[in-house]
Subunit: 172 residues, 2 copies
């Protein structure tokens, strides 16, 4: 994964002063790195009987749907409130300051269905934990949680004990 | 494409009264339909020398990155203001009421590079026209513009005369 790691660039002071943002857009722009990222995320869960891949907008959609195609699975979008047109279930979760809410279509998951959760970045894990809760409330089984990049120093993985978690690239 | 068309459901009065929303989430959830949509979009441009696929957040990311993988191309995200971390170029365009702005990374396209634009839906075409303008201002060449669904009665295709446009499913 060194090749992928080299394509991630640091952007200092984004989105605010003192934060070093890990920008994956150079990786996405590189055809071979994009394919390698998608196939490697899929490889870690090929034995997991994944029926659907689920991702949260907006950046999660980039790798999520491509991984779904790679695994021969369907794709489920989780979105901000008011974006999904049919009957939805929502989850509100805590941020550092305030709260955020995400929604899933109520018919997106069938009971017992194995769902792989995909996102580009594991930071504190709050959004992903809320996304997992939505899938489980619909009766889905979390087959695994896949990240392209994990910021291990934020200890987000602690929120997913008992789950099968895979991160391709870890920054300590 | 009848099989794909059957997976698109009408949601009346969304996002506002009197609008019938074409919801593609049942298509995305179906593994075979998702793959068929992605490979069919790619098929229409396999001869076009596509180096990069470009899509606008959020829904454009779903098919865009998967089509990039299918074509062996890189992926370029266009986003709402303030979301892309590095140096950006922006385009402001007219909506029915007011304006909207989208951004692209300044280093996303190399001069002469062939870029395929992908989105799930062609309605009035305002956002896609702005996205094409951004790519062209960076020196990119629009290899084509691909939509999963075209609402032909809104006549958005008129904005793309002279471009190679392909829509998999058209509603008259």
């Amino acid at each position: 994964m060194r090749r992928l790691r080299e394509k991630i660039r640091d952007i200092p002071d984004f989105p605010k002063e003192g934060i070093v943002f890990k920008d994956i857009t150079p990786l996405l722009m590189d055809p071979e790195c994009l394919r390698l990222a998608v196939s490697s995320i899929a490889d870690a869960f090929r034995d997991a009987g994944v029926a659907k891949v689920c991702a949260v907008e907006a950046r999660g959609f980039i790798l999520g749907a491509a991984v779904a195609c790679e695994l021969g699975a369907g794709f489920i979008p989780i979105r901000k409130p008011g974006k999904l047109p049919a009957d939805t279930r929502c989850c509100t979760y805590e941020l550092e300051y305030g709260t955020d809410t995400i929604e899933i279509h109520a018919d997106a998951v069938s009971p017992g269905e194995k769902v792989l959760m995909v996102d580009d970045l594991l930071a504190t894990g709050g959004t992903m934990a809320a996304a997992c809760k939505l899938v489980e409330e619909l009766g889905g089984e979390i087959a695994g949680i896949a990240f392209l990049v994990e910021l291990a120093f934020l200890k987000g993985a602690r929120k997913f004990e008992g789950y099968r978690v895979n991160s391709l690239i870890t920054f300590e």
